[in-house]
């Protein structure tokens, strides 16, 4: 006697060689479907062809076949045995097992297709990213090129404005020259800001980690703005905590840029009262130190809504701010990104008609041996004379030649000028110079090509060559220094910057 549970999951049938059911031997699975003297092929179409081909006296099994009983599909495993007289067919109902298999298979395949879809989307994303990167690179290249093209005429504008302002002028002319200077300076800021922003956006901002003197940087910034504020009623204060380390590791250019921008802004929007730069120690560990730079002004201040948007690009608080105060509204956005790139934070507290406080906290790596970096005292540029110095200027831009010559001649320098690298090349074999100021983009031989021939000159092998260029990125600077230039001056430059850089080499003679 077979228990009913087992009885219902199998059926054993005997057929003839044509598939006609001769006997139901045992089991009750789908028994209504298997009728004696009828073909088994009605219920088991998969046996058509198979049954006829069965080998003699060998067990043969087939798994996962489907049969239908009472309009329900069942998954069955089938065992077949062909003897000389008949065929034995044993059918096992394995529906439950196959349902699990089905779920597993379906899940496996779904995962496969989902993975494939993700992979395809990733490929597409990678492709789009490449396109975007390329477009970004093109944009950066375009901006760098435009920046270079703009810097050259800007050098002429600012230089000649400077020269004109030193001439005896009437009041009206002085006023107009003032506007011209202001517009030129504003254009210079915009060019630098756009280039900086594109570099930051392209992830190409490279920070330098070198020994820097925080107190010196702060003091230089302060003195610079103090000099500019001579005629105004706003008091500019500097408070530096004595706990601040002199030398730390950081990027002096970018720290200066941040402080200059914030100080410039504070002075722009403060008509009376004071602007102060306060430098405090936040934290001093064994290896790192964190310094807070606070720029506090008693200017017009901002509303809460204005404060919330102040670090966004192209933000100026009133529609006509950029017309009144200049700039493209990129300054604070760049400052924020620069501070973040230095792992620092920037915050602002402001009250309308009371004033604003910008706080910048930057962590610096400590310099263990507390030494002064250069020991150079600030040079009094105004009184400095470079008498006796012989400087060669090589620049294909006539206006730039004249401005640079003018700045140098004012310091009693003997100046020799050439229009291109080819002419200069000949002269560098004949005359000795203390400094050579070399433009980069020149017809014939470029500044880059010329510096690489330095070792072959008959004279001037030890002369300092300074690149004078509108290619004003840190990458360009690094490239020029690696080619053999002693220093780099970006166009447009001011007289002070030119003289200060040259004076370093004057001291050596």
């Amino acid at each position: 006697m077979i228990p009913s549970k087992i009885d219902s999951v199998f059926i054993e049938i005997t057929t003839d060689f044509k598939g006609v059911i001769k006997r139901v031997n045992a089991g009750g699975f789908a028994e209504k479907e298997f009728i004696v003297n009828e073909s088994i092929f009605f219920v088991c179409p998969f046996l058509i062809g198979t049954l006829e081909a069965l080998p003699l006296d060998e067990f043969f099994s087939m798994e996962g076949m489907i049969i239908t009983s009472n309009s329900i599909e069942f998954n069955v495993d089938v065992e077949l045995f062909r003897s000389k007289k008949s065929i034995s067919v044993l059918i096992h109902d394995r529906t439950k097992v196959y349902r699990f298999v089905e779920q597993l298979n379906q899940s496996r395949n779904d995962v496969f297709f989902a993975k494939r879809e993700i992979s395809e989307k990733n490929k597409e994303l990678a492709r789009l990213r490449k396109v975007a990167d390329k477009a970004n690179e093109e944009k950066t290249r375009f901006l760098a090129m435009m920046s270079h093209e703009v810097r050259n005429p800007l050098t002429a504008i600012l230089g000649y404005t400077d020269m004109i302002s030193e001439e005896p002028l009437g009041d009206k002319a002085k006023e107009y020259i003032g506007y011209l200077t202001s517009a030129g300076e504003n254009l210079k800021v915009i060019v630098n800001d756009i280039l900086d922003l594109s570099r930051i956006e392209a992830g190409k901002l490279e920070l330098v980690s070198e020994e820097i003197n925080i107190k010196e940087i702060v003091n230089n910034c302060f003195v610079n703005y103090k000099n500019q504020q001579k005629d105004k009623v706003v008091v500019l204060d500097l408070v530096v905590s004595s706990a601040i380390s002199d030398i730390v590791f950081g990027d002096s250019v970018r720290v200066t840029q941040v402080l200059s921008n914030l100080l410039s802004n504070a002075l722009k929007f403060t008509k009376k009262g004071s602007v102060s730069l306060e430098v405090e120690l936040v934290y001093a560990g064994k290896k790192t130190t964190e310094i807070c730079f606070k720029i506090v002004d008693t200017g017009r201040g901002m509303t809460v809504e204005q404060t919330a948007k102040i670090f966004e690009e192209y933000q100026q608080n009133e529609l006509n701010d950029n017309r009144v105060f200049g700039g493209a509204g990129l300054g604070l956005s760049i400052v924020k990104r620069l501070v973040e790139a230095m792992n620092g934070t920037i915050s602002v507290f402001s009250e309308l008609n009371v004033g604003s406080t910008f706080s910048v906290e930057i962590p610096f790596k400590k310099y263990i041996e507390q030494q002064s970096k250069s020991g150079l005292s600030r040079i009094n540029l105004e009184k400095m004379s470079l008498k006796g110095m012989r400087i060669l200027i090589v620049d294909d831009d006539l206006l730039n030649q004249k401005i640079t010559s003018h700045f140098l001649k004012k310091k009693d320098v003997t100046v020799v000028v050439f229009n291109n690298g080819l002419e200069a090349l000949e002269e560098l074999d004949n005359q000795s110079f203390d400094v050579v100021l070399l433009d980069i983009n020149m017809p014939g031989i470029t500044g880059e090509e010329l510096i690489q021939r330095k070792s072959s000159f008959k004279k001037n092998n030890n002369t300092a060559f300074i690149a004078l260029t509108g290619n004003a990125t840190q990458k360009d600077r690094g490239n020029y220094l690696s080619l053999g230039f002693s220093d780099v001056i970006f166009k447009p430059f001011k007289s002070d910057e030119l003289i200060e850089k040259i004076s370093v080499f004057f001291n050596k003679f």
Partner: protein
């Protein structure tokens, strides 16, 4: 009328069930439901003057490392190997996989069909066919009902050989 057992084999998800559904029931569904074991469908086709009842075995799709049970091929008169034109892994080892099917089934000729032609451009298909190491009998689309009937006609003809 004679009955012939024919099999459709190939990797999972290449569209074997869809080809059969399109051929037998004139239906197509975008939903993918994997086949478990074997489902047998039948359709009468005419080859020349002869009517054949094709018993079409829809064999569950396999992975590269899985083999179709040899028992399935017992008594089979023809087999179709289906691959997915849009999935490289389904045809990258085509020559080897067809040899395996030939060995298991004892059949000399296997009908080779590239399905899902609707997912590729004609240029892409031309290029792909050139890179495949075995001759492809037909390029089909179960979704667009392109060449499906022809593919089964080729299969039916082969079942008579």
């Amino acid at each position: 009328m004679i009955a012939k057992k024919v099999l459709l084999v190939g990797n999972f998800g290449v569209g074997k069930t869809s080809l059969i559904r399109r051929f037998v029931l004139s239906e197509f569904s975008e939903d993918y439901i994997s086949t478990i074991g074997v489902r047998v469908s039948s359709k009468i086709v005419k080859v020349g003057n002869e009517e054949i009842k094709l018993l079409i075995w829809d064999v569950a799709g396999t992975n590269d490392d899985e083999k179709i049970p040899k028992a399935y091929f017992l008594g089979a008169s023809a087999a179709m190997y289906v691959f997915d034109l849009s999935r490289e892994e389904t045809y990258v080892n085509l020559k080897n996989q067809i040899e395996v099917v030939q060995e298991l089934s004892g059949l000399k000729n296997i009908t080779v069909v590239g399905n899902k032609k609707d997912l590729l451009t004609s240029n892409e298909i031309d290029h792909l066919i050139k890179t495949i190491s075995v001759p492809v009998n037909l390029i089909t689309s179960a979704k667009e009902n392109e060449n499906v009937e022809d593919a089964f006609t080729i299969l039916a003809k082969q079942s008579l050989n």
